[in-house]
């Protein structure tokens, strides 16, 4: 009893401002309702049939694999890019920054078209791609990963860039005086400092890749068991058997609950908080 009351009193004074409650509650309802409706509308008794008939499991596996690979690629390439954008100064940096974040606003379908123009058979580096890798990129599994990375990486970059900007440079200076090389400062001081932002950015990026639809459809080709991801499958099912479509959301909702529920609280807690 006392324990609970005392805990409630902890935040008193700087606790919840009432002004945030009504909009926050509305936001919860708004975001919750469609998901709830989807779950309500799932034809539970038909679930077995649907999952058997429709190519759900291969599509889910493909979605998870490709989105994780796209996230990994985004981390490997996007975090260094974010660092440069945040810290490196040269004239025209603002333009460079805008250019690399264009995929953010490019509608995914145009993204797909753009990927064709770049890496397709007739794309500007399509011939080079073929001679290096020995195959044409479009309509292959790598094409999905490329499409998802193209669309999702900017989300990671923007999130992490902001963190690099506000990260305390003081500790980096301290590390420099302790003899740490720039690379070591980056890996051992700056990265841990912005770890919460990297996790948040990776979650956004992964979510964007998992839900990616337009570019994947076009550039990947939506071929069952090869390039058909869950989002593209949904479109097919929705066209064919609209009543079955809600059932396809379930695995993703489950994944989301597990990933966001477990991971967020553990990893998004910043080390610096008291």
């Amino acid at each position: 009893m006392i324990g609970t009351r005392s805990r409630a009193r902890r935040a008193a004074g700087t606790g919840t401002p009432l002004v945030v409650v009504p909009p926050a509650v509305l936001a919860v309802l708004f975001l919750l309702l469609p998901t709830l409706a989807l779950v309500v509308r799932v034809p539970w008794s038909d679930l077995g049939r649907i999952y058997r008939d429709q190519q759900v499991w291969p599509a889910l596996r493909l979605s998870l694999e490709s989105s994780l690979e796209a996230t990994a690629a985004s981390l490997v390439f996007g975090v260094p890019l974010a660092w440069l954008l945040a810290r490196f100064r040269f004239p025209g940096m603002a333009v460079a920054r805008a250019i690399v974040t264009i995929p953010l606003v490019l509608p995914p379908v145009i993204g797909g078209v753009a990927l064709f123009d770049a890496f397709g058979r007739a794309g500007i580096v399509g011939g080079e791609f073929r001679s290096v890798f020995g195959f044409d990129l479009p309509f292959t599994y790598p094409a999905i990963v490329v499409a998802q990375t193209f669309v999702a990486m900017p989300f990671l970059v923007v999130t992490v860039e902001g963190a690099f900007r506000i990260a305390d440079r003081g500790v980096e200076e301290a590390a420099a005086t302790l003899g740490a090389s720039r690379t070591r400062i980056f890996l051992r001081v700056t990265l841990p400092l912005v770890a919460p932002a990297i996790v948040a950015g990776a979650v956004l990026c992964w979510a964007r890749a998992l839900g990616e639809f337009g570019a994947t459809l076009l550039f990947g080709g939506n071929s069952p068991e090869v390039t058909q991801t869950l989002p593209t499958l949904v479109l097919t099912v929705f066209a064919d058997q609209p009543a079955d479509a809600p059932a396809l959301g379930l695995p993703l909702i489950a994944v989301a609950l597990v990933v966001l529920g477990l991971l967020r609280d553990r990893w998004l807690r910043p080390v610096a908080a008291s």
């Binding site: 058979r121 007739a122 479009p138 309509f139 076009l218 080709g221 939506n222 071929s223 069952p224």
Partner: protein
């Protein structure tokens, strides 16, 4: 002329005393009808001066869903009876009538890089084939055709409607696509057509109907009538459609 049996005369600006259709309608039509209905639209608008026909083209299945979800429209022309049935089952369309049918043809990029000459060439390894998604009419027909020919083809791409399928071929990203003969004809020199033998080819039937909640029933009926009429049918035939 047609008598007005619109449900609500007050909300229907077209319900004039003369009974001559006026105002505008929205026609939902299968993507494969793009060119033919484009022409018919102009002819109907010329026939009834002051009217406007808005065409919305897409995969028949998408259009059917939109109608059952209440998107306002006046006419639905589907590329398969299946999608029309889902609309009539929902009591959203009046009695449909079949107006044309359509068969498939192979489309390749103009230079035909994979040298496709027969349907069987699609099964050759390394040939990238684009088809419509099995959920849309042209995809269903493609399935039947390949089954008729006892061919196992693993398509590289299954796209959302026939026009996207054609677009992928046009851009050269696919070596061949299974599309309607009408699409090959409409694309002109942008693709090269390879005919499919009649004994394995299959067709889909196109029904058309006015919609239950049409805002402008008179013009809707006039449009359907025109499609079924000789001038309308002539436009469709010249684009490659067959009799239903």
């Amino acid at each position: 002329g047609c008598g007005s049996d619109s449900d609500d005369a007050g909300s229907s600006p077209s319900a004039t005393t003369t009974g001559k259709p006026t105002g505008s309608i929205t026609v939902f039509a299968a993507a494969s009808l793009t060119e033919a209905f484009g022409t018919i639209k102009k002819q109907v608008e010329a026939e009834y001066p002051g009217t406007t026909v808005n065409l919305q083209l897409g995969a028949s299945s998408d259009l059917a869903t939109q109608i059952t979800q209440g998107k306002p429209a006046d006419v639905f022309a589907s590329a398969s009876t299946k999608n029309m049935t889902s609309v009539t089952d929902a009591k959203d369309a009046d009695k449909p009538r079949n107006f044309v049918s359509n068969t498939l043809e192979i489309a390749t990029p103009p230079k035909n890089p994979a040298t496709i000459t027969t349907l069987a060439d699609l099964a050759k390894p390394g040939v990238k084939v684009a088809v419509c998604d099995a959920a849309v009419p042209c995809g269903a027909v493609a399935k039947t055709v390949l089954a008729n020919a006892k061919l196992t083809v693993k398509p590289a791409a299954s796209l959302q409607d026939v026009k996207s399928t054609l677009a992928v071929v046009e851009s050269g990203e696919a070596d061949a696509g299974l599309v309607y003969v009408t699409d090959v004809r409409a694309a002109g020199s942008k693709v090269h057509g390879v005919e499919i033998a009649d004994d394995v080819n299959a067709s889909t039937t196109y029904p058309i109907a006015t919609l239950t909640h049409a805002k402008n029933k008179p013009l809707a009926k006039a449009f359907v009538q025109y499609v079924l009429s000789a001038p309308g049918q002539q436009v469709l035939r010249s684009d490659g459609f067959s009799a239903p």
